[in-house]
Amino acid sequence: MSMRILCIEHLKRLREEPIKIYLGGEAEVRIYSDFVAKKRRKKGYRIDELDAFLRKTRTKMEARIISSARRAGIPTPIVLDVDEETILMERINGEPLKNIMNRKLSRMVGEYTARLHTAGIIHGDITPMNLIYCDGKIYFVDFGLAFYDTRIEARGVDVHIYFESLKAYFDNWEDLRDAFVEGYLSGNFDKAEEVLDRAEEIEKRGRYVERRLAED
């Protein structure tokens, strides 16, 4: 396979000074006036084999999934260009849910998440930081850890991660969780109840490890 490179116009634009640089968990996000460049730079802490593998596969998968989520009716930024380690996408100039979270918004996250899951997509990191409210819609912006999976377990973990992030950020997390559940159940996703049950079960795992250690 030949290496994919960004078009000249985009390469030029990347030389401009970004409005903001955000150093995330695995990628550097440069925000420009009308687009965002997400670049997975080399991480010096991990060995080359693992580093190259993660950067390449994640970038490729992320670009693919952003497009298929969009086709499934979930608001996402439009992908403008991709190379081996960079994705250029439309900038969603709204407010992260982290700053404006309420019951209604959490319910909407539930609706969209059910739609993602119906399309066979697992987001992998649904948190109020990765959701942007803009023009009455909630955009899912970070598909960096997303993958395709239709198993209940994967969907359950996806929901569990959102619940955990609510717990970490908001004191009224129980209310927000209930709103999400309402939204998740509101569509016609036939596995919705099963997934929510699984999410509850997952919460209980990993917490009784001492006991399980003893049972070995």
């Binding site: 802490y45 084999e49 693992l50 593998f53 930081m129 250690l213 003893a214 070995d216």
Partner: protein
């Protein structure tokens, strides 16, 4: 103020004595399984047979009358082990007529780490046998931002080591083997947001061993993969919370390769990396003594009738009223 602390949530049995400025002593008498993993009943039997001698050893070095607070690890941990610790602590508290403070084991790791490294408000990566968590302070509580979805890293290392025919504790032996590993085998790299899981890696590694791969290479691949996962989730938590300090605590934290990787990650994002000295890294009585002292100074004490053990004690359930 001088605090005595008793730790014995699992295999470790340890008493520490601290004052406000430093650790005065740590005395250990760990349970070491003859073969296989930790059996709670055997571990608690070991604790009950040896705790008396350990107390006497401590009081041959410090005057019992100098103790101001008796602290003990109330949970999380193995019920039978915790009960030995709690019983001993109650007896000492009544005998010495000094207040009792039951503390959360995980929080003790974290607070002793802050105390001895000077980290102010860090993201904490806590990795031990049974626990693997990303913890950070939010208002009046510490919260778990990410954790293992199945088993703790120490437990995963032990499982792999046992499969290779190595004895408990497996972590240091895997670390030693990994040093001469050269070939990297791809193992399931499982990170979901700030959560992660290890059991898929264990199964894949066991399979590699069955297929004849070298132990050294498996150990190397296992460490590189698992530690990279931890570095990634730690970095993600730091980015989300806009924190530029990382604190590493827990028994697995003594691993030199893990420390190197986390330090490098911090350097690359201009953050500071902290790790307490080795004797305070794994389970020890001094951390319990220190948290008991900190809590007592801030108005906490535990009545005898409230001193029941809490095998599932979560760090979020502690109200934190200190800086």
């Amino acid at each position: 103020m001088i605090s005595l602390g008793i730790e014995g949530t699992a295999w470790s049995l340890s008493i520490g004595v601290v004052d406000e400025s430093d650790v005065i002593l740590i005395e250990n008498d760990p349970y070491i399984p003859k073969e296989g993993g930790i059996h709670p009943r055997e571990a608690s039997l070991h604790h009950s047979e040896n705790i008396g001698k350990l107390v006497r050893r401590v009081f041959s070095r410090v005057d019992p009358e100098s103790i101001d607070v008796v602290s003990f690890s109330q949970g999380p941990g193995m019920g039978p082990c915790l009960r030995i610790v709690a019983t001993t602590a109650r007896a000492l508290s009544l005998r010495l007529k000094k207040p009792l403070v039951g503390v959360n084991h995980c929080l003790a790791h974290l607070e002793v780490g802050r105390w001895k490294t000077g980290a102010k408000n860090p993201v904490t990566l806590y990795v031990s046998g049974g626990n693997s968590q990303i913890i950070a302070r939010r208002g009046k509580n510490y919260r778990v931002f990410g954790e293992t979805l199945d088993i703790g890293l120490g437990n995963a290392l032990d499982k792999l080591a046992r499969y290779m025919g190595l004895k408990h504790p497996g972590g240091p032996k895997i670390e030693e083997l990994a040093k001469s590993g050269k070939r990297y085998y791809e193992l399931p790299y499982t990170v979901k947001g700030m959560d992660f899981s290890f059991s898929g890696m264990v199964t894949a590694s066991q399979k590699l061993l069955d297929e004849g791969a070298k132990k050294e290479d498996i150990a190397y691949s296992f460490q590189e993969t698992a530690f990279a996962m931890l570095a990634e989730v730690s970095e993600r938590a730091m980015a989300y919370l806009e924190v530029d300090e990382l604190l590493l605590v827990g028994g697995v934290g003594a691993n030199a390769r893990l420390q190197t990787m986390l330090k490098k990650m911090c350097e690359e994002r201009k953050a500071s990396f902290y790790a307490p000295p080795k004797e305070l890294m794994g389970d020890n009585g001094a951390m319990i003594a220190y948290l008991g002292l900190l809590m007592h100074k801030n108005g906490y004490s535990t009545k005898i009738e409230e001193s029941t053990v809490k095998p599932d004690f979560r760090v979020e359930d502690v109200d934190v009223n200190w800086e």
